[in-house]
């Protein structure tokens, strides 16, 4: 029987190869993901180990006080050469308009206990000194001998009134440190300061009972073995966790790798989607293989094969195919991972990457087992069909093989229940998120679950509705000619296969469209939120002590490309009523209309009017003080009162605008403390922002704009979207292989029909066109339905997530949608090229042959 199976496989090699590619891509994906996971772990382990420097032994501690106490004990041991606290803390370092959050380490007592090496200068010897990593020094534009400012606050005291006091230390840069082993690369490098400075800047002290993550690094005296040292320290510190450097690193990595494992699981989830799509392609292929072999199978039954043997033959074939394809996938995936690693290694990302991928048992076994299993499971239904072949079929003249097109009633019920139930759950989740204050996690969870259920329902029911949609579209196309009519009729001949092929594509496209619509909605919802918040394109504020802008800044900014108008602004704190405080702005020369994003906002501004933002107006009305006449009270005392008419405007945030004259009444000495900038309509906000920042002098100035914030989060959204779509693209590629496979199978099945059509006058071009239309019809319907479903899911998801954040702006990602549908149609067309070539080679004489 095995010989027969192999012989049959040889005969169907072409078709099996196409199906095998689908599985191979899926397993390659999986293998590469697992290998990447290994690289993550390895990199993390290496980095953690490197932070321990050349320490021999590592001691875990509970609190800072505990650490200090243990450190004293350890330092007194005769076998110990040096011992230090590994105490990574943080500090906000500023120089001019640049600021940076920096990880700091205390000065090591021995170079052996630090991963850092001094490049130039010296390490700090007293408080008020710092050695910076070169990246930070570059970013802050400082060198040895320069001074930087560190801002810090007193420890929070619940007894005291108000916020803890803020202090600024002037710190001298005494050295630049290197990190050759990339130990702190993931934190952007580490600076070295005295332990006292580091603790003070973080509101800590050595008597602190705060559980600050700290370990003791211990280096043995020359000639002392690690085991001896380990025993010594353990004896001196009864009950403490004392480990070798490698043990400690392994422990730490295990603790922190939960995060990267979660990431791995997500990526493996995408691999699972790819394999699911591959399974659909496999199932299709085997169905047709069995149908084509009906005669052989019947003959085998005639000569005495039992049903089990036929089933066994099909399953063996699937197992062999699955295993072979998985091996190919495994090798390809490993090669790809290694190639990527080599490229990244050469690119020097500042992360210590291992030179080769680490092929562990799971990396080999999991893809092989999963790939083989998926293939075998996908062939179960076709295998059952093989056992149904009656021996008499061998004696009948071969009809065109047909695959049962009937689908069970149970399937319909399950599909309907899942689709309707899931859909209802999804609607419920959206409504709940929009209208109630329920826990967002709960509504999101419900939405996810319901969405997944409805999608499964849609997929299970695909065999019922996809062929109908294809038929409908086909009927529409039929008017365009005989080729289209033939193609439409052909897609309707085997509804189950058409459904499976379209569905394979639908899965990938739905997920891509969902991500795309969700991202677009997130982008515009957040964008709207930001626009509401900022009434001005770009704001530059002074951070100096007196709050005044340095001279000449206005002219500098006005000269930047893309800046349309600049106005200096005076501001003062005012209140309405007892406790509604806010900032009142006055644009110099009352040119507010020039610089506000929407000039109409300033309509009606005169000495007796205050323009209020929507937020403020609402707060006023809620306080029962909605105007139309209000009294502004100045900051200094209650004596300066101005009666003003209120006017609601599209100003964002909690801002109010008055005339210069009004402001002069409220705060006569208010300096020009900010610039409002309007950008040219055709300028790229991010670009102008960058130019403005570059043009600003080295003064404490803060630039803010919706454009700046938008760029930041849009970058995050776009990166995430790019990664996810890239991962899903694998599933789409597999599905397109499925389209090509289905078409070539159809061509083989319909050899005789094609010959007949050629005999009665179908030209080669018409035959090619017929197949092209068929391919595009299957792919196009899958893509369009996927887009519709995906956009709905994406909107539902965005509605659930952003309902609480702010205004929801459902956005249609037209560009992405058009690209997806375009790619699908082009691929459908492409998929028809090879099958069409073999189809037109069929001689019309074949129509007359009787087999």
């Amino acid at each position: 029987m095995l010989r027969l199976t192999l012989a049959q496989m040889r005969r169907s090699l072409g078709r099996l190869t196409a199906a095998g590619i689908a599985i191979a891509i899926g397993t390659a994906f999986m293998a590469a993901t697992l290998l990447a996971g290994n690289v993550f772990t390895r990199t993390g382990y290496d980095a953690v180990t490197a932070t321990y420097g050349d320490a021999d032994v590592v001691v875990q501690t509970e609190t800072l006080a505990d650490a200090a106490e243990k450190l004293d004990v350890v330092r007194d041991l005769p076998d110990v050469e040096a011992a230090d606290m590994l105490l990574p803390l943080g500090a906000e370092i500023r120089h001019g308009s640049q600021r940076r959050y920096q990880v700091t380490l205390p000065v090591p007592s021995s170079p052996r206990l630090s991963a850092l090496e001094l490049a130039t200068g010296a390490l700090p010897t007293r408080d008020g000194q710092i050695a910076l990593p070169d990246t930070t020094a570059e970013a802050l534009e400082v060198g040895v001998g320069d001074h930087v400012q560190v801002t810090w606050r007193d420890p929070y005291d619940p007894e005291a009134d108000g916020e803890p006091a803020e202090h600024t230390d002037d710190v001298a840069v005494v050295g630049i440190v290197d990190d050759p082993s990339h130990a702190w690369a993931q934190y952007g490098g580490a600076a070295v300061v005295t332990q006292d400075d580091a603790l003070r800047w973080n509101g800590l002290s050595l008597s602190s009972q705060d559980s600050v993550g700290s370990v003791l690094l211990v280096a043995g005296a020359p000639g002392v073995g690690t085991q001896t040292l380990l025993d010594d320290v353990s004896t001196a510190l009864p009950g403490a966790t004392v480990q070798t450097r490698d043990e400690a690193a392994a422990d730490t990595v295990r603790e922190i790798s939960g995060e990267s494992n979660a990431l791995l699981m997500v990526v493996l989830g995408f691999a699972a989607i790819a394999l699911l799509v591959a399974a659909l392609v496999i199932a299709n292929t085997f169905q047709v293989l069995v149908a084509q072999r009906t005669r052989t199978l019947a003959l085998l039954r005639c000569v005495g094969a039992v049903r089990g043997q036929l089933r066994g033959s099909v399953l063996t074939e699937a197992a062999i195919l699955g295993f072979a394809a998985s091996v190919v996938g495994l090798v390809t995936g490993t090669a790809l991972a290694q190639a990527t690693l080599s490229v990244l290694g050469r690119a020097d990302l500042g992360v210590p990457l291992p030179p080769t991928v680490e092929v562990t048992w799971p990396v080999v076994v999991v893809p092989l087992v999963v790939g083989t299993l998926v293939t075998v499971v996908a062939s179960l239904v076709p295998a059952r069909a093989a056992t149904r072949v009656s021996p008499v079929a061998a004696l009948r003249p071969a009809d065109a093989p047909t695959v049962s097109a009937r689908a069970g009633r149970l399937r319909l019920v399950v599909a309907l229940l899942l689709t309707l139930g899931g859909g209802a759950g999804l609607v419920l989740a959206v409504v709940a998120a929009l209208s109630t204050d329920l826990d967002p996690i709960a509504t999101l969870g419900l939405g996810l679950l319901a969405g997944a259920a409805s999608f499964v329902g849609v997929l299970v029911g695909a065999v019922f509705w996809v062929p109908r949609v294809v038929a409908l579209v086909g009927r529409g196309l039929s008017a365009t000619g005989a080729g289209a009519r033939l193609a439409a009729a052909n897609t309707g001949r085997n509804p189950r296969r058409t459904a499976a092929t379209s569905t394979a594509l639908l899965i990938g496209v739905t997920l891509v469209a969902m991500m795309s619509a969700g991202a677009a909605t997130a982008r515009s919802s957040l964008g709207q939120e930001l626009d509401n918040h900022y009434a001005v394109d770009l704001t530059i504020e002074s951070m100096s002590d007196d709050g005044a802008l340095p001279a000449g800044v206005e002219q500098t900014v006005a000269g930047v490309d893309g800046v349309a108008a600049v106005a200096a602004v005076r501001t003062t704190g005012v209140r309405i009523g007892e406790d509604l405080w806010f900032s009142a702005f006055a644009v110099d020369g009352d040119r507010a209309a020039d610089v506000l994003r929407d000039p109409r906002t300033a309509d009606g501004l005169d000495d007796s009017t205050v323009l209020l933002s929507a937020d403020l107006a609402r707060a006023l009305r809620d306080g029962g003080d909605g105007g139309p006449q209000v009294t502004l009270v100045s900051q200094d005392d209650d004596t300066v009162r101005v009666d003003l008419r209120t006017q609601d405007t599209a100003l964002g945030g909690r801002q109010a605008v008055v005339t210069s004259a009004t402001l002069a009444q409220l705060a006569p000495g208010a300096p020009e403390s900010a610039l409002w900038v309007r950008l040219a309509d055709d300028a790229d906000p991010a670009q102008v922002l960058q130019s403005v920042q570059d043009a600003l002098p080295d003064e404490p100035l803060v630039t803010s704009s919706s454009a700046a914030e938008r760029v930041t989060y849009e970058r995050v959204i776009d990166t995430l979207l790019g990664v996810v779509v890239g991962l899903l693209a694998v599933a789409v590629v597999i599905a397109l292989i499925g389209v090509a496979n289905t078409l070539s199978l159809s061509v083989i099945e319909r050899r005789r029909e094609s010959a007949t059509l050629r005999a009665i006058g179908l030209t080669r071009g018409q035959l090619r066109r017929t197949l092209a239309i068929e391919g595009m019809l299957i792919a196009g319907v899958g893509a369009v339905l996927g887009v519709v479903l995906g956009v709905l899911y994406g909107w539902a998801g965005a509605a659930t997530v952003f309902a609480q954040v702010g205004d929801l702006h459902l956005t249609m990602p037209w560009r992405d949608v058009l690209i997806v549908v375009g790619v699908a149609l082009a691929a459908g067309l492409l998929a028809s090229v090879l099958p069409a070539r073999s189809a037109v080679r069929t001689s019309p004489v074949a129509a007359l042959a009787v087999d």
Binding site: P397, A400, G481, A482, R485, L486, A489, N490, G492, R493, R752, E753, T756, L757, R758, A759, I760, G761, L762, T763, R764, G765, Q766, S843, P844, V845, A847, L848, V850
Partner: protein, 282 residues
Amino acid sequence: MDTTVARPSGSPDPGSVPGGPATPPTPYATASSARGLTKVYGHGAAAVRALDGVDVDFAAGAFTAIMGPSGSGKSTLMHLLAGLDQASSGVVRLGATEITALDDNALTRLRRDRVGFVFQSFNLLPMFTAEQNILLPLDLAGAKVDRAWFDTLVQTLGLGQRLTHRPAELSGGQQQRVAIARALIAKPEVVFADEPTGNLDSRSGAEVLSFLRRSVRELGRTIIMVTHDPTAAAYADRVVLLADGRIAGDIVDPTPESVLAGLEALRTLEAPVGSSGPGAGA
């Protein structure tokens, strides 16, 4: 070949074309002809001469059968006459067109517009209804349907009740009648039928053959049919006998008996024993 009754030529028996066809073709014209037609399959030692210098003419408005034992080349002759296959040498004409000189696209158009086919296995498209199958050649050509002609065909072939049925819902005889309607719908100059009764029981077979004959007698069509069944051949106006790739005889107004006798003569020719030639049919 002195046993043959007549030279195969384009002189049909006028009696076989009764008057009164709706659109009579040019009387006595040659619908299809071959000169020095040779077809060789394979190369070198394995080469088989399926046709070996065949000269033959088929009269327009006549029902001609091509007969011969298995391997005589009768199917090959039909393929070449119909422009389905390429000749090794020689010339085939359809009307005045030399089809051996045409490229694939021109041949396809010629088959579409000027030739009709009836196959042994019917070869209807399973996803189309009977009516869609009948109209397919016009569909492919993008031509307008001549409703009167369509109705005539449907009525003559008795398909009125079956037009909306798919092939799977039709009997073999009904399917072949649909195939005949499909072959005739574009009013082709010649209809080629390849063993049209091969897959039918004798009653349906007889029905189909009478339809073919009626389409010649009443509708003025030209039919060339390949068959190995003497009874089927007897429905024709004339039988051309083929043996070993050569024309081996010609019977005008055949009867089953005269056809059988002609075949018998061929067999005895092969076993080199002289025998009386097939007599001219009644």
